[in-house]
Amino acid sequence: MIPITIVQTAFPFFAAIIALWIATLAMRRTGIMWPYFPLVLLAAASCSVAALQYYQLLLTVWQALLALEYFVAQVWVLVVIIVLTKKQS
């Protein structure tokens, strides 16, 4: 059994802040928003990790929520790669 600690809830929270911070700076710097939405989604997934850790619900069916968020983020990354590659060529 994984013990509930402050760390397990707080670290994903800080990770989400860092991910969203980087995404925002990138959006601000490049002036384009859509390629950085996967980072926003990762921040959301990280918050889900924090909440699930708090209630000790990882390794239950709730983890499907995380899987969904990561899946959408990965598909979005694929779309970004394809679109940017087509623009390059």
Partner: protein, 172 residues
Amino acid sequence: MILYPLVLGIEFFQHVVVIVLVGVTIVECIVCWKKAHTGDARVDTVIQENKRAHVLLLVASLFLAAWIVVEYLSEYLGDWYHFLVHLPAAIVVAGIFWYLVRFKDLGLKILFAVFSIAALIQIGLDIFEMFSGMDGVPWIEAVRELLQLTSVLMFYFFAVRSMNLLHHEERT
């Protein structure tokens, strides 16, 4: 209750978004202030032209942060919270949005529309909860958190897009 993890996760995400938004807005204002004193003519004119928009963005972001913090007072203010705090706050933020929508950008208009609709539904939900006596019903809390997350995210994207429009005007 089964919806509690969802509510907690959404609350975490709201706080993350607001923390990042306030941080980025403050950094933006410091950068603009510094650039205004270095004598870069182009940047200087851009800032001079859009000074009011920048100040309004900062004010709106800090206001939203204060709103999220004051949410915790809702327990003490009770039902009056919605009339004393929530409704005025939503109206002020929407008013600032209304000023910034003058950029004639379709994305900003869509974000503004979604924010307004989410805020209106949330206020309606609060009034419904107040008069129906269904205080603390889990699905109402979950729906309210979802609506609030929508408002906060729309505000975040609105602020970032406004900053982009202010600084990358050639891209629009």
